[in-house]
Symmetry: D2
Subunit: 386 residues, 4 copies
């Protein structure tokens, strides 16, 4: 394909944080260009925003249905190649279904959708259409977690025993939603966020990482959800014991009331022959541990020959020139766009599926569902719907 | 009192790790001197070891009963002022009872003893005699955890919400006990270690710290114990959700199969107005966190005026001249010997009890008991015996 | 201006590292688009590369002179608004002069040029034309160094006493240039790199940072250059004592033979009332030190209200979502493009000059010149040409 | 020898920091006991202090001459075996000469003495008597620097190219000596500290470490001394370029006005095949670097089989149980007392000299002398007296 892929966007207008990140990430490598969008449910604001970011006015739509329909009618060389959906949780399902119905591949900012019913329907639809479908579980696409996955797969730490994932944030330590702060308001509102805030928002990243790096499925959970700040309906803190395939065990501790903690996702995996440790606060480092030996500091860098090939393919700079959050999005978009290109040329080809896909999205929803059920029922083990 | 206090020791002979630490810690500040002991159940080895460390031969005893009896008959200025018991878990109770029966104050290396029955009996005895009784929950006496306790008490982080304690070690990642290694062998043997290995050995430190810093009691636990290495009877890994007074919550994750982790005790406490974080790998640092403000790095040092008085009293060097593990023991021994001095002068005085005492020791035993029961019964909540 | 700025590029074709970084950095914020270029001295390769990155074939030129001439003839709405020059050191001058002669603003990857004669001529030309002219001393535009500069300017650490900058790299520990490695080959070749390798390449970053953060000029240097690897003509290691205005002092230690060090630029500045410390390996952190108080950890993040406004304007993500090297380039391009926009609308307006400009570029050249002279003459003090 | 060695002390009375450290360090391993002393030039205070630390009153002396004379007359089994001198710099020489004249081995807290004349005389005396003579360059005896020395000697990082040592402290950022603070007052007084404050006090540690780890002598220095705080006669900041044997080079940067820095001694050594890095703020870690490979974290611990034998002999605890400053003193005293024991048994035996000896002490004095001369003469190279 001798052109950039064309992307449409739903959501992500003025004031939205994640929309801008998606635009920067998608376009970073010069393989994708944003060509159209519906950036707000307020159509005036949507159009105004589209102009601000220099889009052609005739590609600025009032509703996502209009966008899907109009774009689908454009010649293949002009129309968008896929849609990126970056709205809040309760507004993922409808535009996704619309896109799929019009034959467009879809990327959604996690979580997949709002309810288990939506999740089941969306999964069926994706499988029926065979369209590429991606989800931005971003953290997994930091190079050093790609490296971790490759090392586990390559048996460098042996059979997995335990996975420890923590994700403390402090930003909801006070009742920020009372101030009208946008991010806090919708996340703490069951009508918009769903049945869980803390675990649904950040605990799911932990769950995804556990499966992604280990290659093992989480099968059961025992959870304790807390709402420490008075007046909150949804959890702002969650601890989860879990069981995985092959008798591996794990713990997820996530919190939004961890005063002074930024976004301190930390991932550790212990096997029979070694262990790996990664932290978002030092995301270009992977600690490689073998009992009785000095710990090794694996660092990112395209020039670091000791890294796996897959890791090096997901970096742009030599060691000591730090990449970050936007590049992790770019890595997902790059994998996804490879599939879209192949699909565009020949819809019958196999997918690489190196990006988080519909099954990962469904699993995330089912995990939250089981966690909430476990907590409600008094901290008992719950199986996760498959 | 114009002389050093005299200490007797039970256990801690050749090859024992913790005995030497107790001797160095107790004597570091020049206020205590070791004068007698029974260092081994083998009386020849005991005497030989006593000579090696330059003790008077007539103060080297064959059994602890002989030691208690003989020392009790010496003039008050000559005889030992207290006994330090550093034997393995199943050999704490008998010498402790003997010492108390002979009127000697006692320090025991944690845990208190071997069974709940012993614990109940020992507690009664201590309370009945009114003798000073200490336990070396060492980590709590690192200066920066003394500081943490003082800050919490002083309401500097507000009402406590959550306490997170982890303690990963890697030294039992393989079946070390099969090699005959001394430490591994008795700890993994139910006849010597008791009903738990991992949680009993290191999880209890976590539990003690949680109560010590927060000033709140742990009331209930829900635990999952694992034995990852094949052939092990006792746990080598343990995760515990817990409830505290005043609706605080917490998690303890301890492990002996955390490949490559040394002794990475980490303690975090989150309140309504701030948080504190301490790690054994950087033990002279306490991170002080307030949401929305830069994290502050509190460092040890007698010259650091921003530290609480109690903290500064437990350091010997100015900032940048690191103290360590032995000094933490010395801090406990200093507090304990203050009480012994006061008691020696006047047995009716009140105790400072600034060191871990019989109640802390009993709580440790009861905590392990409840944790094991919770795990055996399928990970359900268990109340802790008071 | 209701469109993106148009950028042309000289250099940066296949295999070049820094060209890709400039393209990503310049276009990251959606305010600039690359429209034309000469990417290689081999015109076939240049055109082939331009196609690869999806440029219009009729904007792919064979020489930079052709590019300047052709673009200058295009209508103002179509032609490039400025040129980015990312060739190796000895090929900066000619395209820069050509661009300026055709009325195009210029960005050059540091250093400014190849010789002092070129530097003097280029400075005269820039001043004569009044065109915006920028240089990518990238490190200075990491948010936390922008913060450092703002804090110093705001007198938060008082009168400056000392500036310590170190920049150890290990990549030339062996004679890498013998293997034909591209980066190593030209940098160690006096015909391409100029009179210095190590100090010219990385020591200059240190010098720039020292002046940038302190707001003080370096006036004199005393330098020791070393070539540790046998057979090298140019330095691979350099230590420099320096004097600044207002009696401040400093040290720069840069090295390319620091085995195992990546790109460990570290900057410290000490004033009468405090100190600041920044390191490239933890670039989103600034340590703020006041004698007798706990160190404060300032962290990047648009939501961190304790940061200066100027700092926050140079970030895209909230705390805990790391930005990196590419974003630092983007910050320079953003400042630069602001000036270009203002200039395009009205050439008589004042420049913001918030990016490194021609004076900074000249200073870099003069600094290297004085450092080399000092070392050659036996480590004596040398004044720096102004 | 079937008893503890007996130590006498000169200096180190009430309020002195380093005296207490020497007492704890010397006695930590149970091989040495303090038996006598002159703790203050005020004999009343001296005696009062001696009682406080429970010494026999008849071993508390009024002057060091009296002590040497009286102790020398005691039976060999009773009298002190060696003297530890912990007075301020200008009061080292006289008691040391007196001790040597009376046949007592001597340990002095560094620096050796006050003037070059004293240093020459003391060196002659020590060599003439053949008595064991030690100096507490403490940092070198942290286990991980013992490890560094062993690795260099074992050629694990190849031929040495460069040694970088920095030692920033912040405690004299303000004119602390004006407040009467004891440590600051004598150190900034040329009558008590000598010709240099900053370099003499802490720069010498850097110089010693450079020679100790590398095994190479420093031959020439080029130094810049600064007195940043107004009204100071002596330096409070010093940068030194140095040359070593075998064409190795190095830099020492030491400062007492580094606001907020504690005692941040940092040591790095770069060879043709690797590099080592150690920092006092994380003193139980040694980073081992090889270009192109992951950095390895070597950690202290008697159980770490990857450490050299000599390193393991200088530790008391397993990994993760931190030792510190006092233990480093203990290591020097242990090596020194081994020599004293051998000497006591047979004065003609060879010394191990594993502790810093008279030659190290003389070198420290000569280094300071050359550094001051270099700075005074305008930052020119100076040879160091041998």
């Amino acid at each position: 394909m001798d052109r950039k892929l064309k992307m449409g966007m739903v959501g992500g207008g003025s004031g939205a944080f994640i929309g801008g990140i998606h635009r920067m990430g998608a376009q970073l490598d010069g393989q994708i260009e944003l060509v159209c969008g519906v950036f707000s449910s307020n159509s005036e604001q949507s159009i105004s925003f589209g102009k601000e970011i220099y889009l052609d006015e005739d590609r600025l739509y009032k509703t996502f249905d209009e966008m899907m329909a109009c774009e689908a009618r454009l010649p293949i060389e002009q129309r968008m190649d896929f849609v990126s959906i970056v709205t809040q949780n309760n507004l993922h399902f409808a535009p996704a279904m619309s896109a799929l119905n019009h034959g467009f591949p879809v990327v959604i900012d996690k979580p997949l959708c709002f309810t288990m019913d939506e999740a089941r329907e969306l999964r069926s639809k994706v499988k029926a259409t065979g369209l590429p479908f991606g989800l931005t579980y971003t953290y997994a696409y930091y190079p050093m977690l790609i490296q971790a996955k490759a090392m586990v797969k390559n048996l460098e730490i042996g059979k997995i025993r335990k996975v420890m994932v923590e994700y403390p944030q402090g930003w909801l330590s006070d009742k920020l939603e009372s101030t009208g702060q946008k991010q806090a308001s919708w996340r703490s509102d069951p009508q918009k966020a769903g049945i869980s805030n803390c675990f649904g928002d950040i605990g799911t990243h932990c769950g995804h990482l556990a499966e992604y790096v280990s290659g093992l499925k989480i099968t059961e959970v025992l959870a304790g959800l807390n709402a420490f700040v008075q007046g909150r309906t949804l959890d702002d803190d969650a601890d989860v014991l879990f069981k995985m395939e092959q008798e591996a065990k794990g713990v997820i501790s996530s919190s939004q009331v961890a005063q002074g903690d930024e976004n301190n996702l930390k991932f550790r995996i212990y096997g029979e022959e070694g262990a790996l440790e990664w932290s978002n606060t030092d995301h270009n480092t992977l600690l490689v541990k073998k009992q009785g030996k000095p710990i090794q500091i694996f660092r990112s860098g395209v020039d670091n020959a000791f890294l796996h090939e897959e890791t090096r393919l997901n970096m742009r700079t030599p060691s000591g020139h730090p990449e970050g959050y936007i590049e992790a999005f770019a890595n997902i978009y790059r994998y996804f766009s490879d599939d879209v290109k192949h699909f565009t040329i020949d819809p019958t080809t196999n997918r690489s599926c190196k990006y988080p896909n519909i099954d990962d999205g469904f699993k995330g929803m089912a995990l939250v569902d089981a966690v909430v059920a476990s907590s409600v029922d008094g901290n008992v083990w719950k199986k996760i719907e498959e």
